[in-house]
Subunit: 423 residues, 2 copies
């Protein structure tokens, strides 16, 4: 008998009907002879409504209380889901993150899981129950306070429980049929990927693909837990994410896994920096001290006549204000002429392990962009990824051009988006 | 420095404005030099909405999951209240029933508190925090499952915490100004009671007064915790409930504390019961085995010619169907001709410790009812209470007549009901 962890996002349990539909699917898994652990997010818009309430009583809600508030959402959905399963004649018990043994650090609103001690889950399973666990939440090791895991936290809960329980697979149910070769909202002919390696999935997630978050894939890779991303609305097989193709699935590693894009970043250019050792370090130390994560960094060639250079980097738009303020405050320490802020940029990334052994990939990529008339502003690469920054307006066209150039287009428009997005 | 426990019902925290208003009041108590523990119910209609959701997914929600669901309501209100207090510049921490050490038995949906171990609350207070505690909920001693305490559970949470923390007073904030000599919705000239003994309050609660529930007053009496029932909407002094008048409040014990009424009961008459030993016992054993609580019981005088008698008793309307079914199933064992069910009855009760030493009270009570043309169907008495059953239609008139006859009428219409009712 196998042990399966299933995770359902908020759009899958948006209302009573959704909960009943998901309950049937869970019972099917149980009837197929599996022990089943289910991780569930808050229903539909619940979390947004709670955030709205918090903002009404306090402009800056405190972390500890904010976490206590938000975790009410999963408490509701998990209890209702357990009831719906019982109503189908099967035994189910719901558990909060704390009861399920999800132990975290004390960083409220974006805690990290540091241990999982699923004793109560194991007991519930051994007694024949389906175990329902609140996603997105845990309890802090030192203070025993309720914490939340931040964006995509429920996926991480599911993978962490799968690892702790030595599950055969972690099924992530969502409102699309799996991971696609590009965002189906941009590329109508995007194809569902049947299997993708952890490494390629990590690069896609880091490059703007939103189906799985980087942190969840990283966790799955570390413990070698196969993830099956699939739709809770259709009965279709989705995308397997694992170190090697699973079982009898003899899937050949594609040269290119997909094209990701990201329009959530901005670019800051520090103009007129003295071209001498330590200057770049001073800039990036300033940014790091403000707890801001950079993405791409480019230093222009110095103009010999002035001895000055420009340094550009990209970062999340949401951190833009903070970065500018930090640099301005440290202007004299760093020494620069001016700052330029540009949030009308987009990033296109081509991901695929085949890149390592196919030298023509980079050339084809730039040809495709050039033929589409897309101007490139920054470039960064890893062993299995090429990313470029362009004007935001060019992103959709660039993604489609690259997708076609690498033969990724499907013969049909197969991608369906069923609902909203969960967390 | 004193320790005060305050409890706010759902109508006091119905929306963000209510939460901010209550936060200000709590901060006042803190500024007055008290350590403050606050017990809070779910916001307004939250609980009803959750019950509605549960009914949509399952016609018979399981106890354990139902409790998990309902407790989300207090989790929301307590976190918001803590945020609102912090926004006023004071430190506050919220705690679930489990975190606050409210230990119960395992009877889901109506658990009883068996111990309170408020170590975390004590620590929070010692660190200068205001402690916010979820009402209505606890954790079961044996299984560590989340439980709820049933109707009026938040009041009981407050009194239990006040006892465990040795508080000076337990303030119950509600949407009326206190306990009145009669229900202000029925008797416009009802007067607010300044002080009432635990004993009289227990009789009023048992007789249909809904401001405080019997169980909460019983708990307060056992641990001798003074209760101050007052409005969260006005700044007025409310009603003190204690063993003796508090401090400099030299309040004389009233002969009559008040008139209570109750239209939530039904009457069952078992007709044609053989008038021999053991018959009544067989009936009441049947009712007891069905876990139904009786209120009043009357056995009619036996008709000598037939050797048969009738036995009548009252019980909550909600239990009527169950009682009839149980009696019918055991008809041959008991031996009776027929059953009569009557849910058009009402009960009027006069309560007051002065009754013991004022022999005229009973006579005046019946005179008042007689003058008002109210017919009496059943009578029951205790040392400090007389109750009668009448037609439901006569109840309002009977209450007003008795209230006037005992000189309880106020000179003005002072009673105000501010909102809905909490739990």
């Amino acid at each position: 008998m196998g042990l399966v962890v299933q995770k359902y996002g908020g759009s899958s349990v948006a209302d009573a009907e959704g909960i009943k539909r998901v309950a049937k699917r869970i019972v099917e898994a149980k009837k197929n002879g599996n022990q089943v652990v289910v991780v569930v997010s808050a229903m539909g818009d619940t979390t947004d409504e709670l955030i709205d309430l918090a903002e009404q009583v306090s402009p800056m809600p405190a972390g500890r209380e904010f976490d206590m508030l938000l975790t009410a959402g999963e408490r509701i959905s998990m209890a209702l889901l357990a009831m719906a399963i019982k109503n189908l004649g099967h035994e189910a018990q719901s558990f909060t993150g704390s009861q399920a043994g999800v132990i975290t650090d004390s960083v409220h609103n974006k805690a990290r899981i540091i241990d999982v001690t699923p004793g109560r889950i194991r007991t519930a399973l051994d007694e024949g129950n389906i175990a329902i666990v609140a996603g997105f939440q845990g309890v802090s090791q030192d203070k025993k306070d309720i914490t939340t895991l931040g964006r995509g936290g429920s996926d991480t809960t599911a993978v962490a429980l799968a690892a702790a329980l030595d599950a055969e697979v972690c099924e992530i149910y969502t409102d699309v049929d799996g991971v696609f070769t590009a965002d189906p909202r941009v590329v109508k002919k995007a194809k569902k990927i049947d299997w993708i390696s952890f490494e390629d999935m990590l690069e896609l997630a880091a490059s703007g693909s939103k189906v799985l978050l980087h942190r969840c894939v990283e966790y799955a890779r570390r413990y070698n837990i196969p993830i099956h991303v699939r739709s809770s609305f259709s009965g279709l097989q989705g995308t397997w994410v694992s170190s090697e193709p699973i079982g009898d699935k003899q899937v050949e590693q594609a040269i290119i896994s997909g094209v990701a894009h990201d329009t959530s970043e901005a670019k800051i250019t520090v103009v007129g920096v003295p071209d001498k050792p330590g200057e770049a370090a001073a800039i990036f130390r300033t940014i790091a001290d403000a707890a801001i994560n950079l993405d791409m960094v480019v230093q222009n060639v110095s103009a010999a006549s002035t001895g000055l250079t420009d340094i550009s980097f990209t970062l999340p738009k949401t951190e833009g204000r903070k970065a500018i303020d930090a640099l301005e405050r440290n202007r004299s320490g760093i020494g620069f002429d001016s700052l330029r802020y540009d949030d009308q940029i987009g990033k296109i990334s081509l991901v695929g392990a085949g890149m390592k052994t196919n030298p023509g990939v980079t050339a084809s990529f730039f040809e495709a962009l050039s033929n589409a008339g897309v101007n490139i502003e920054l470039i960064s690469t890893s062993e299995i990824r090429i990313s470029v920054v362009t004007r935001a307006d060019d992103v959709a066209e660039a993604v489609r051009a690259v997708h076609t150039a690498f033969g990724l287009d499907s013969d049909t428009d197969e991608a369906v988006v069923y609902g909203g997005t969960g967390r």
